[in-house]
């Protein structure tokens, strides 16, 4: 079941380029699974016209939390919202992360960390590998760090953790018999795939990001190509795909 609700902002934190928003929802939070997303109408005008999709970062009772990176017109409008404002949200949308009985490695690039806080509540004691450009792009992790067995950070400029990328971190691990969950920019996911191709017995799932229209399978605007040249929809077939199910 999907819901369209007017949701009140109950908490707002701006942290460099990130925005944490917490909403009170009627049904969306209660029915959400890790990996699902919501599609938000950022204002009542038609600029921007379309809703903006965001991975669900966390839920607690009837509250829904989102981690949002400032990117364009849509996210800019959200940065301007105040506590007490109501936003039109539809969700929960899309599929969820499959839960695999193996040691989990979460691979996150930038705002791609968003779905893993929620997932770490279900799959505790996973290893988090997190790559950012610099320490300014490192959102506050302390509330969640206990859900991960270990957190390793890489930054491109070396301002936090290891100097390098999340791929450098990942390549240090033997991935056989593990399950990898990855979310981040497409070049990062392609680099993860390159590593996975050399591993036997690996299972991996990506949460992918695309341009999206409606978010519930109607406009067919979020097509993703499969290796056989067919198309799947990120909104209803995804956003979680097995790593070899889609071409990125």
């Amino acid at each position: 079941m999907k819901y369209q609700e007017q949701c009140e902002i109950v908490e707002k934190i701006i942290d460099h380029s990130y925005l944490f928003l917490k909403f009170r929802t009627k049904n969306i939070a209660k029915n959400a699974l890790a990996g699902q997303f919501v599609n938000i109408r950022v204002n009542n005008s038609f600029t921007p016209l379309l809703r903006r999709p965001f991975s669900i970062t966390d839920t607690e009772g009837d509250t829904l939390s989102l981690l949002i990176l400032l990117k364009g017109k849509g996210t800019e409008a959200l940065f301007g919202k105040k506590i007490g404002d109501f936003l039109d949200i539809i969700g929960p949308l899309g599929n969820s992360f499959p839960l695999i009985n193996r040691r989990a490695i979460f691979v996150a690039g930038g705002v791609g960390i968003a779905p893993f806080f929620f997932l770490s509540k279900t799959i505790s004691s996973g290893l988090l590998l997190f790559g950012v450009k610099s320490k300014e792009y490192l959102p506050e992790l302390s509330a969640y760090s206990s859900s991960f067995s270990e957190v390793k950070i890489a930054s491109e400029d070396g301002s936090s953790g290891k100097k390098g990328t999340v791929i450098d971190l990942l390549s240090e691990y033997d991935l056989s018999d593990k399950v990898v969950y990855a979310c981040g920019p497409n070049p990062m996911l392609r680099a993860v795939s390159k590593i996975l191709r050399d591993c036997a017995q690996v299972e991996a799932y990506y949460s992918i990001e695309t341009i999206m229209g409606c978010g519930f399978g109607v406009c067919k605007g979020c097509a993703v190509e499969t290796p056989s040249g067919q198309y799947k929809l990120a909104c209803t077939d995804g956003p979680i795909f097995s790593w070899n199910e889609v071409k990125l």
Binding site: M1, Q4, L49, I90, G213, V218, C222, A223, Y231
Partner: protein, 283 residues
């Protein structure tokens, strides 16, 4: 000004419909909308053969508008027909279900219309003569008035349910509307999306593989209003209007321009509950 709440012999609860291509195959909005609030719902156009659609990107937002180059992704006539034969889920909807179809030839339209008329849950057909982004360069059936005449005449002879004919605004839709009327159509739909394009200036490339795309959303409303007015002046059969309708006020404007029914299109993506709200407000 009150036009009858009828198309052919089919009665409608009210004047609010949804537009093809923005409402899926009917199931997708059931969590958001009580269909019994609507006059009717129009399903996604089904083509003779399955189409896997165009490669991404398929949509691009513009100021107050949307460009799309979906490529009529659908499972094709045979599959959809067989599935409906087995399970006519459309029967459960307490509204008029309008089934949209498009062929590759005049004969396809007539054949598909005949088959889909057998399905009890389908109340009415829409012959989509206007999809701009499947054929290269945007050429469509309605670019040739002879096609319009033959498709409508043959369909009228063959089918027992009322049908509307959907036109492109890029063709001579006034002339096409007249042809459709005297060839036996029960309504006309004005219109499909406008012809648009997007280019990346930096890389000097087209955004969409097919170069052109369908343009819709609030931005096209003034053009759509003028087109609906012109078509409504030309024919006596009901005009179904669509083009950027986002409120009950917009809907009223189209009714004043001469439409008998209005379709909510692109705004279904933005506010999936909108059609119901508009239906309540314009009562």
């Amino acid at each position: 000004m009150k036009a009858p709440l009828k198309i052919g012999s089919l009665s409608f609860r009210n004047r609010v419909l949804t537009a093809s291509g923005t409402f899926g195959m009917g199931k997708e909005f059931s969590d958001f909308l009580d269909y019994s609030q609507l006059g009717g719902i129009t399903l996604k156009t089904i083509t003779k053969n399955p189409r896997q659609g165009n490669p991404p990107p398929r949509i691009l937002e513009t100021p107050y508008g949307l460009l799309n180059s979906i490529g009529l992704e659908n499972e094709g006539f045979q599959k959809v027909y067989q599935d409906l034969k087995k399970n006519d889920y459309l029967r459960q909807y307490d509204t008029n279900v309008i089934f949209s179809l498009a062929g590759d030839s005049v004969e396809d339209y007539v054949e598909m219309a005949r088959f889909f008329c057998e399905i009890e849950g389908i109340a009415m057909l829409e012959l989509n003569l206007s999809c701009p982004n499947v054929h290269e360069g945007g050429a469509t059936f309605d670019s040739n008035p002879e096609n319009v005449k033959r498709i409508v005449e043959e369909t009228a002879k063959t089918v027992s349910k009322p049908f509307t004919v959907k036109f492109s605004p890029s063709q001579d839709f006034v002339k096409n509307s007249r042809i459709a009327e005297y060839s036996g159509a029960h309504a006309i739909t004005i219109s499909n999306t406008f012809l648009g394009m997007a280019i990346h200036a930096k890389t000097k490339t087209f955004v969409f593989k097919n170069k052109t795309a369908g343009y819709s959303g609030p931005a096209v409303k003034p053009m759509a209003l003028a087109n609906v007015y012109r078509a409504a002046q030309a024919v006596k059969i009901p005009v179904i209007a669509s083009g950027g309708i986002s409120s009950a006020e917009d809907a009223s404007e189209f009714l004043i321009a001469g439409a008998s029914f209005i379709s909510i299109g692109t705004l279904n993506f933005v506010d999936p509950g909108l059609a119901g709200k508009i239906a309540k407000e314009i009562e």
